[in-house]
Amino acid sequence: MTVAQSRPHIVGKQPAWAGEMAAMLDAYQQAGGDPQALQLPEVATLVISGNQVLATHEIPGVHFDARPLQHGVQAVITVEPQVHIERPVHLCFGVIPTEGKQEILANYEIGPGAQVQFLAHCSFPNAVRVEHIMQAHIHVGAGASLTYTEEHFHGTHGGVDVRPHAEVTVDAGARFVTTFSLTRGRVGALDVDYQIDVAEGGVAEMTTKAYGTGEDQIRVHETVRLNGESARGLTRTRVAVGDSAVSQIFTSMEGNAPGARGHMDCTEIVRGQAQAHNEPLVVVRDDQAQVTHEAAIGTVNRKELESLLARGLDEDEAVDLIIRGMIR
């Protein structure tokens, strides 16, 4: 995408805006996004840099109301009931300078029966001292389906403090699937906190992937409360830490209603002087509910490793391949 090709939904056209937009598109690409996708008229788009709303593009059934705050943006993102959005909605958040603070206060309202996917890319490519706070409220209406995929790129300095927090309500028969990935570059300090409540027949699946090196700090809180009859929940946590990085994973699943089924699955690979902590918590308040968990913390699986060694990979190559696959 070039600035000259920008479409009517672009918020401003001043030179300063153009430079910021170009930088954000580069950052978007570094975070794994496809800038071309932001140009497509059938793709709903929201681009936020620091506290500036650089671009919004609505399509039928998807609406944005984004307003700048002193250090960020307040946004309401609405998907109308019963609409099926074919192409993923693209969200692009970031801070380009080496220092700064960005706070996103977001409300997602997914109407009953709607079906939509979001692709969110958060990029801080030059960060030396950047703070990013996401405080989201997500409501998935009855029978709706929301897939929310969030990819981060924090640059190579490890100077980012990122706190994605979300409170999610999944109504009866609704489906919420989310993936959070921070697997390239440095992490810095990451504090993920998702609290998910699931009603009758609802489904919540959360996958978290992170790869920490250097002095990175990874802290993940995942809480799923299966409150309705036959609600389903799954958490998959895949974290690798090397050098002196530290990961702390706290996963909690509650089975509070008949027929509720939950499972927590955590793998953390530890290399060098890194440390990993894992604390699963299972709470069951109904004798017809069931929650299970599995965790593997520490070195790579020996059998996987030897399978790769037998193909001629050396140990470092093999471990790297296993880790890259796990967090892919």
Binding site: R302, E304, G312, R324, M326, R328
Partner: protein, 271 residues
Amino acid sequence: MADPILRVEDLWLRRNGHEILHGVNLEVFPGQVHALLGLNGSGKSSLAYTIMGCEGYAPDSGRILFDNHELAGLSMTERARLGITLAWQEPARFEGIPVGKYVSLGQPQPDRDQTVAALEAVALPAKIYGYRAADQTLSGGERKRVELAAVFAMRPRLAILDEPDSGIDVLSLVEIEKLIRRMAGEGSAVLLITHREELLATADAATLICAGQILFCGDAQEARQYYSTRCRSHLESLGAQPWDATNPEAQAALASNGSLRSPISGQTPEG
């Protein structure tokens, strides 16, 4: 006849206080399919892991020579780079590693056509399987075929196939037999571990192993006859674990049979 590519000499292995291999001798030649036949727990896989250099399988004594070079002290990676590889009986599963990538790992230079051909050789269409992860979403049989494809794509000088027939349906078994012959036809030596005598039809030579001892080494069909008429029936009569050192009755019965007790390498058994 050419020199053997693999020569195992008087190999002894002890693990966790148990004797696993008792003076094993074995020779495998280039282009040969050599079956290693024995019941569960007889030491077949342990011998494979020892040749491959897996952790915990360093022999207590004896030698393993590959192309006349002793393997002692070489890592698994070094052995693989010499041209030795192993297809596991129960292959590991890998999150996020596509089948195509896994199959290409052993190639000196990644070769897409060779990867595709290897997958098709095990009846896995590359268009369907190439980008699927080699993880738990594959069935046991599919994963085993991927493992064989990976070995084939590597074009190893010695392929150790640990029970490639287990968990495989009859139709797939035909494909696997063809692949084994094809590997040998292209010059690989194949050490084929199995406890199914049917697969012996694929082999040029066979070795019978029981309780870590070689009972017979020679012609594959003679081995099949020996295995089916005497060895298997005798061992099965002793119970599920006749090699269990803590089972005096089974050990006594095993020891009482002279033809089973003596390691015979390169000789046809009597009777």
